[in-house]
Every structure is written in structure tokens, then in C-alpha cells.
Amino acid sequence: MTNKAGTQTNLSMHAIIWLLLSLSITFTLYAFNLENWVPACFVVFAIWRYLIEKNNWSYPTLWLRFPLTIAGGLAVLLTYGSLFGRDASVALLAVMISMKLLETRTKRDFIVMVILSYFLTVNILLFTQAIWVFLAVLLALTGLTACLISVSHQSMQTNISTQVWKNHFKVQVKLAGKLLLQATPIMLVLFVLFPRIPGPIWGIPQDSYSGMTGLSDSMEPGNISQLSLSSKIAFRVEFKSAIPANNQLYWRGPVLWHQEGRRWQMASDRIPLPMETLQTSGSATDYTITLEPHNRNWLLMLDLPEISASTLPAEARVKHDMQVLSKEPIRTRIRYQGSSYLQYKLGAELSEHERTLALQLIEDENPKTRQLAAQWISEKKSPTAMVEAALKMFREQEFVYTLAPPRLGKEPVDDFLFNTKRGFCEHYASSFVYLMRAAGVPARIVTGYQGGEINPNGNYLIVRQSDAHAWAEVWLQDRGWVRVDPTSAVSPDRIEMGIGAALTDSDLLPLLSRQDYPMLKHLYMNWDAVNNGWNQWVLGYDQAKQLALLKKLINKDIAWEDIGLILVVSMIALMLFVSYLLLSNKGMVLNPSNRIYQQFLKKLAKAGVTKLKHEGAISFGQRAAKTLPNQASEILEISALYSSMQYAKQANSKITNIQSLNLLKQLVNNLKV
């Protein structure tokens, strides 16, 4: 290792640039997910380290590094409240890596740094797994590999020109790319065949899923409109048949029974209620939903799903009010099939218990609303007429559908119905149900999504968080639970054409839910089709998919245990193949005549005449002819022809050359020893 000291400076300049470049990518990704001061900390230390290298500054002493490390740890502790948990531990690792930059100078330091950086970079997947993140991670990994290559390349001259220096850069990144490309087949085989054990092996930190959005189990004025601001995708739906009209697309989520002030909640599970009866008519609509994780149990279904165990995802159950729940919160993207009827009759009979729950209201609130209800009761209106009256009120008075309603006062329903008259779907649904209950008509709120966006590129429907919706169901004698969407009375466009068409103040909406920018939308649709495939086949690849794929490939049912065997066999085959490609020594490149001559030599060697390496073709031919007098003339002819092909002036015409080549081949083939 005598040269080590001499090559040190250049070694670290290449390496430091690669390391800083790739860590910059990693920290850019983290900028979206960690507290801002963490990437900022990296930027400071990265610049510092770069200047040390460039200007030959001295490295900071232990007396500086030690307090910095303590400060970094404390900062993480203060920001995240702990050093454990997903965010905190990743932040701690990120901060420590940033600081370690200041003491990275030997080959050993660099390699440890690269390995730690690999770890940090891959950890971003805990936060997000989008395609572009994956691509950025690949880029960072390539850079880190180039760093590894540059520190491994210790033979670089101490004083090399800029040109050579740049060349080294190119060589390093090329080789890094090559290594990763060659690793890809191994990755694919392992990815497809490595047995997927459904996790988790141990507990998962609580904060792991904090980033997920979706419907909650309760509703207050404002939280659906809040959700509407997000363009995140809630789920995608592929229909087996034609996609129903937009106003039929009610995606059923939590059903809210219990009112408590502004807040509406699901009925408690402790109250046993009988399953509501369901009569369907018409043909079923079959579809497949790919649900994004939202850390809740609801599985959204098109109103109204037919309940049969075969179509439901495993371990899901149906509540009495036709809400479908999974056993565990949805933390990974799942895919399930549904079958729904657009025409149905739900809950022919209403039990006493249900009636009580469906009429429950907190006493002594919203006097004006109660007064209106009392007036309708005194008018002896039928429940159907009451519904009509309420809808008429929404339709004819100056109610406005808006994402930015004014704050409501102490009596929220009164305030909304008689004062502000501006609200989002949850305002309409909750005040409608309140009014119905006050008037003695059993009613409940259903939350979920309404509508969706058809992606022509994939012929599927994208439903976003911005499509979140709330509507009402009232129970009418002989008709059961009937869906009433008070929003449609205020803003029919919302139901017919989607939220983008309905809102006048649409700039509050996410860009992609709006109706302007068709070009952008078109691009987006293409992109989403790619994304959908990505989700289906990469992110959603789990044990079930794995078994299904293998079944398709091998056309036989495979036990989960057999996958291991298949994996081992295919890995061995792949490694043998790759090793053969990489390691086989082609040696000197032989010209065609030389190759044929080698066959000739092999034949003679079998007969016991071996050419010495220093023997010329002619003299060997003469020797061989003496040993094998029966074939003497052939041997001499071949030797002479080969010798002249090797050493004589070649004819300019290709044909002559090919002819003599063929002649040689023929002679060698005909030679029988």
C-alpha cells in the first residue's frame, strides 16, 4: 500500500463529488418528507466538505465534531420527540451521515459512507414509492456505486490532467451503470420469485402511516371539503362492463348514524342490529377496485354491493348498513372485486332499535330547524313530501355550493339553513338528515366518493380524494332506505359532471380536478396509466399476485413452499449464465482461417501429431506428413493453403478470399485421420 498516501487527494476528489451528488438526490427526496432543517443541515456540511477538498482546508477537529454530533442528536430529539420511530430514526441517520462527511477521507471512510448512504437512500421508500422516486433512487444508487468504484480505483496517478480526470468520471459512471444493468436480471428473478412473507415481523412504529389520507369514521363540517383539496388518488376502478353514468357512481364508505353537535359518527359496534334486507333488480355491475392505503378499515364499494363471500376480499365483513370493512386497516394497496346493483331496495323493515338510532338527535339544539320540522309535521306532510320540501328549499332558496363556506355559529344547522346558506356536501347532507330526523323521518348520512374520472388510456376510473362526498339515506315505508343527495339539489353539476364542473371558485381545487388545461390532463392520463400499472405490478406485488403469476407461467398450482425451490433453481441457472457471459475468456481473436486451422490441429492431435507452438504451418505439415504418410498429400495441401492465407498477399476481391476459406474448410472436413 505504498502508493496510498500519494493518490489520496485525487481519490477523494472524485469520490467526494460522487458522494455529494448522490446524497443531494437522496436529501432532495427527503425534503418532502422530513423536517426542512435536516436537508438544510446536509447542504451546509456538504458545502463545507467540498470546500475542504477544494481549498485543502484542514478537517474539523474532534472538539468541533463532537458537540456538533450531540447537537444533531438533540435537534432530532426536540423535533420528533424521540430518537425512535420511523421519522425520527431516519432523520437521525440523515443528520449523522451529513456530519460524518466532515471526517470522510480514507478509502475505508468512503466505503462505510457509501454503504450507509445506500441504506439511507433505500429508506426513502418508507415514505413514498412513486415511480419518479424509484427513478431518483436508482440515480442516487448509480452515483453511490460510482463513488465506490472511484475509491476502489487506487491506481490513479497523482498528477493527472483535467482531460484524464474527466475521463475517469466517465469511466466510473459508465461502469456503475453497467454493474447495475447487469444486476437487473438478478433483481427481476429475485423480485418475482423471492417468497413474499406477509409482514410485519415486528411492530411498526405508529407514525409510519401518518401520511395517508382518506375518509374518517366521523364527519364534521369542513373535513370533507378539506379532503377535497387533495388530488391524491383514493382508488381506481376497472369495470368489466360499461362504466355507469356519473350520477350513478356513489362509492359507499362509512355510514354515520350518531349525531353529537356538529359531529356525526358511525353507529357503535356494540349495538347489535339486524342485517338490512336487500332486493336487487337489473343486471349486476362487476368491477375491480385498487384501493390506495388509507390506514382505515373501509373497503369502498359501488352503491349497492351484493354480498357474497366469494367476491369480497379475504377477511372482510359487511355491516348491517351495507358498509364493507376489512379486518386490518388498509396499509398497503389492495385490489378486490365487487359486484353491485344500481337498482335495489334496502331494508324493507325497520326495527325499533334502528328507528331509534335513525331518529337520534341531541336535544335543545337548532331551534329554528326544529321549528321548521314541527311545522311540516303539523302540516301532516308525508315523509316523501318532507324530503321533497327539504330539497325544494335547497333548490329554490339561495344556497350556494362552495369549498370555502363561512364558519358556522353555535347552532350550526340553524346558522347554515337560515343564515349563511353556503356550504359543501357535508353541510347539505348533515343539515338535511338533521331536518329529516327532527321531522320524524329516519335518516342517516353516508360518506364516500361520488363520480370519478375516466382514463381513456386504460379504460378505468380514477377516484381521487377530491371526489369525497357525503349524502343522505332516508327510510321510507315500502321503499326502504332511499338515497337522497341534497347536494344535487343545490348543484346538479356536481353529481352529473364531477366536482370540477360544480365549483365556481375552482382555483381552490387541485389542478388536476379542474376542467381547464386539457393538454395537461391528457398527459396526466397517460402518466396515470403508467402509474396504475406500476401500482398493480410493482407496488402491489404480494404473495397472492406471486402465486397467481407463477400459476400462469407454469400452468400448475404451486404451493407457497415450492417457490423457494423455484427461486433457488432459477438463481443458480441465472448466475451460471451471467458468470459464463462475464467470465468466459475469449482469448485472442482468431480470424476465420485460423479457426479452421485449429480444427485441423485438433484432428492431427488426436492422431498423435501435436503442433509445437513455435512450429510454422509448413514445417509442421511436413513433420505431420512424415508421421502420417497415408494422408501426407492432404496434410501438405492444407498446410500450404493455410500458410498462404495467413502470410501471402490477399486478393482484393472478397469472393476469392471466401472461396479459399471454403476450400480450406472442405479440405479439413474431408481429412480422415
Binding site: 513455435h614 512450429e615 510454422g616 509448413i618 500458410s643 495467413q646 502470410y647 501471402a648 498477399k649
Partner: protein
């Protein structure tokens, strides 16, 4: 062309009995336009070989016996003052000929040796600032006794390099010797010998020699040999680029003598001991022996 060269060899063989290989080598050396050094013990027929070749090739022939008191002027010529014309008149020395036989070159002093070797290199003589061109073709056949003999001035390595080839003649085989003993010795026949070609034809042969094809594959082999001599611990110093060029030229001449229009590795192998022998100094014995060359040939793959 093969006919002509065969005729030359056959004619020479009539005088030099049983030395086909040496005659061929000597002829190859002449065709490659190089000077020849024949090294052997006295009485082996060195002088006869040189004389015969000159005769057969129809060349002008001069012989100089080198002795320790031989001066450069005795070889090159002198300018003498002519009273009649009141001018210096140049009297050309024996070197103004086609073939100069420098007999026992290592008996002369280094001064005289150097003078001759300089002319060999430049093919012209400069005396008193006047340059005299030698006739073409011109070459020197030098003979020398083995360096171990007393009273000799061994040619230094740098000057040995001027000779394209060094050959030895060796004792004749029994049959040839018998034939020689039966006759009256070669010298008598020498006088009766008629030339096969003349100087112009020889020059044509020499230029034809240049056109013998040397393929890339052959150059690879040649370079491998050169590289080996430069790297092997066997030799003190490797072959020079000039030696490489000499090897190529001799191989071309050899191929021509074999009636081929291209050079094959066997040609190189045939001429290598003669061309490289005196240029390579073995590390161990300090004499370029044939054994070393054989080792070299064995080590380099074709």
C-alpha cells in the same frame, strides 16, 4: 526467378562442396543488400566462398588481406600530388569494386576497421573533402577468425551490427570432404567459373526482393521475437529496430530463394541465427551462441 537463383546456388555448389545452406544464406544476404561476415577457423573455405559468389554473380571482385599494419588509405585510396598537372590526383583503393573481400578483418587495427565499416554504411568514400561514390552494387564480405585467437582486434558490438549476417562454414561432411580430396581443391575450378548473371540482373533481383509480401501475421511473429530478446533475462540487450528491419529483409530474400512470393515464419526461423547471432549478447556466457537463438525460437509462438 527461382530458376536464376537455383542456378546461382548450383554453380556455387560446384566449387563449395556440401555447403548448400551457407551458400543460400550468403546469397540471401547479398539479395537483401547487406554485408556478410564469415567467421570460422582458417582453411574452411571462407575466402573461396566469397570469391566464388562474386564470380558467379558476375561482379567485380577485389580482395584485401587485413593485417595489423594495414592503413585506411590502403583500403580506401590516396590522393597523390601530380607534378605534371600540379594537382592532387586520387588513386582509388581496392574498395572501388562490387565485392570487397576483407580477409581476416580482425587482424587490422581498430582504425582501419572503422574506416572500412564507415564506408560500408555510407557506400561512399570521402577523402580530402571530396566524395567518391562506390560502384553499385557494392558489398563487403569480411572473414574473421574466432575472437579467441591471439593478436586480433575483435570487432566491437556496435560495428558487428553493420554486418547483415554472420555465418560460419564448419567442417564439411564426410562425402563432401571425400569429393574435395579427390579433386584438386576448389581454387582451380574457380578460374574456369563463368558468371550466371551480371550486375544489372543482380540489382533487378535485389529490387524484386523488396516486393516479397510480408503479412501482418508475420510482422506479429517478428515483433514477438524482438520483444522476447528485449525482455528475456537470457540476453544482455535486446535486438535493435535496425536488427528487426534486417531480419525482415533477410527473410524476404530467403523466401525469394525458396521461390515464394511471401514470407512465412519458417523463413525467419531459418535466417534468425545468422542475422541475430552476432547482435545478441547472452547474459551468462557473453557470446551470442546458437543455443541461445534456438532457445529463443522455441519460446516464441508462431
Amino acid at each position: 526467378m527461382k530458376k536464376i537463383t537455383d542456378a546461382i546456388i548450383a554453380k556455387t555448389s560446384e566449387v563449395i562442396l556440401g555447403k548448400q545452406q551457407q551458400i543460400k544464406l550468403a546469397l540471401a544476404c547479398i539479395l537483401a543488400k547487406g554485408h556478410l561476415l564469415i567467421e570460422d577457423l582458417p582453411g574452411m573455405g571462407k575466402t573461396t566462398l566469397a570469391h566464388t559468389l562474386a564470380q558467379v554473380l558476375g561482379l567485380q571482385f577485389q580482395r584485401v588481406q587485413f593485417t595489423s599494419d594495414l592503413l585506411p588509405a590502403d583500403v580506401l585510396g590516396v590522393s597523390v600530388y601530380d607534378r605534371n598537372t600540379a594537382n592532387f590526383k586520387f588513386h582509388p583503393g581496392p574498395i572501388f569494386t562490387n565485392v570487397l573481400l576483407a580477409d581476416e578483418i580482425n587482424r587490422a587495427t581498430p582504425k582501419t576497421q572503422s574506416a572500412l565499416l564507415e564506408v560500408m554504411e555510407e557506400a561512399q568514400v570521402t577523402i580530402d573533402a571530396v566524395t567518391y561514390t562506390l560502384p553499385q552494387p557494392f558489398f563487403v564480405i569480411a572473414t574473421q577468425n574466432p575472437s579467441s585467437q591471439i593478436g586480433t582486434f575483435a570487432l566491437p558490438e556496435s560495428q558487428l551490427d553493420r554486418f547483415l549476417m554472420r555465418i560460419t562454414i564448419n567442417y564439411p561432411d564426410a562425402a563432401s570432404e571425400r569429393q574435395l580430396l579427390q579433386s584438386n581443391g576448389g581454387r582451380e575450378q574457380l578460374a574456369k567459373l563463368s558468371p550466371v548473371i551480371d550486375a544489372t540482373q543482380l540489382q533487378a533481383l535485389q529490387s524484386a526482393c523488396h516486393d516479397i509480401h510480408v503479412s501482418d501475421a508475420l510482422l506479429d511473429y517478428l515483433q514477438a521475437i524482438l520483444k522476447y530478446t528485449r525482455q528475456s533475462a537470457q540476453f544482455n540487450a535486446g535486438l535493435s529496430p535496425r536488427a528487426g528491419l534486417s531480419l525482415k529483409q533477410c527473410a524476404q530474400a530467403w523466401a525469394m530463394l525458396d521461390g515464394r512470393d511471401h514470407v512465412i515464419p519458417e523463413d525467419i526461423q531459418s535466417i534468425l541465427p545468422s542475422v541475430a547471432g552476432h547482435r545478441l549478447v547472452s547474459n551468462i556466457t557473453l557470446t551470442g551462441s546458437v543455443d541461445n537463438i534456438a532457445q529463443l525460437l522455441k519460446s516464441v509462438a508462431v
